[in-house]
């Protein structure tokens, strides 16, 4: 719960700053590069931590397969729920028969 509140505060502060200040663009190349560097640092350190942990290294195969199964199930679950929701809201129309779903 504490972590959720911390992230909520960080996100709220970031969105408020981006919304209020004209100095920030939504398509900033500098910010994009900075985020890529952060991502590479995080992934390398996570990989290092995982590799150094014997318990994790022993379960990589099992947990990898678990992740793959969950990924496929997540895709199917999201598709099914949104498909049912869209049919309930808009009816069984053919693909691209209307543009109103986007806006």
């Amino acid at each position: 719960m504490k972590i959720m509140i911390i992230y909520l505060c960080i996100m709220g502060a970031g969105i408020a700053l981006g919304y209020r200040s004209d100095g920030f663009s939504s398509k900033s190349a500098t910010r994009s590069r900075f985020q890529t560097v952060c991502l590479l640092v995080i992934l390398f350190l996570l990989g290092h931590q995982l590799g150094a942990n014997e318990e994790v290294a022993a379960s990589v195969g099992t947990m990898g397969l678990t992740g793959l199964c969950l990924g496929i199930a997540s895709m199917a679950g999201s598709f099914l729920v949104v498909w049912l929701l869209r049919r309930a809201l808009e009816g069984p129309k053919s693909p691209h028969s209307g543009e109103e779903d986007a806006r």
Binding site: I10, A13, C69, I72, S78
Partner: protein
């Protein structure tokens, strides 16, 4: 291409860890990962705020918002029965699925809770992004944008570009980015909430 670089960086880190290289990093790694995640969430939020100021954020309707909620609900609901067949508890299955395809953030968040589950979270997210790139161009021929975009979760940009290339409907890219942004907001909140239970 980018995803291959990211997997290669993770694999290099893993190999270094297995070989005992760079072990002097160990005492500070968790803190560096945590604070880097904070910085990433902040900069992403700044971009989201700027997007709304520039008018792009207002294009999303209540209906599209509902489809974003549906995507999140579908992901979580699908993870529950999967826990019966997989070597993880129901809570852990839902936590791993809560990444919604956003592997960079969710893997780090889940690591603090369970290192081995963070492996499942990473694979779950990466497989969702990669499979969506192949699935969305096929689905767009038979189904409509809301359900097609839901397949990618928060990681919809690459897969939407692939779907737009096949269908010729470029508006799916903007739609995917907007819905994906809303879904992305749920990722740190859901993982933070679920790991704290």
């Amino acid at each position: 291409m980018m995803i291959l670089v990211l997997v290669a960086v993770l694999a290099t880190g893993f190999a270094c860890g297995r070989l005992g290289w760079l072990s002097f990093l160990a005492p500070v790694e968790s803190d560096v990962v945590l604070y880097t995640l904070y910085v990433m969430v902040f900069t992403i939020s700044v971009g989201l705020g700027a997007q709304y100021r520039e008018g792009e954020g207002e294009k999303i309707s209540a209906k599209a918002l509902l489809y974003a909620f549906g995507t999140v609900a579908g992901t979580l609901l699908a993870a529950v029965p999967m826990s019966l067949f997989l070597p993880v508890s129901m809570k852990d299955a839902v936590i791993a699925a809560s990444g919604m395809g956003w592997y960079s953030l969710s893997t780090g968040l889940v690591y603090a809770y369970s290192p081995s589950l963070s492996v499942a979270t990473f694979v779950c997210c990466v497989s969702r992004e990669i499979l969506a790139i192949f699935a969305m161009p096929l689905l767009i021929k038979k189904f409509r944008r809301p359900e097609v975009v839901s397949v990618g979760g928060s990681a919809t940009i690459n897969s939407c570009i692939a779907a737009a290339t096949v269908s010729g409907d470029n508006s799916i890219v903007l739609y995917g980015i907007l819905v994906g942004s809303v879904i992305s907001l749920f990722v740190p909140l859901l993982i933070g909430f679920l790991t704290g239970l």
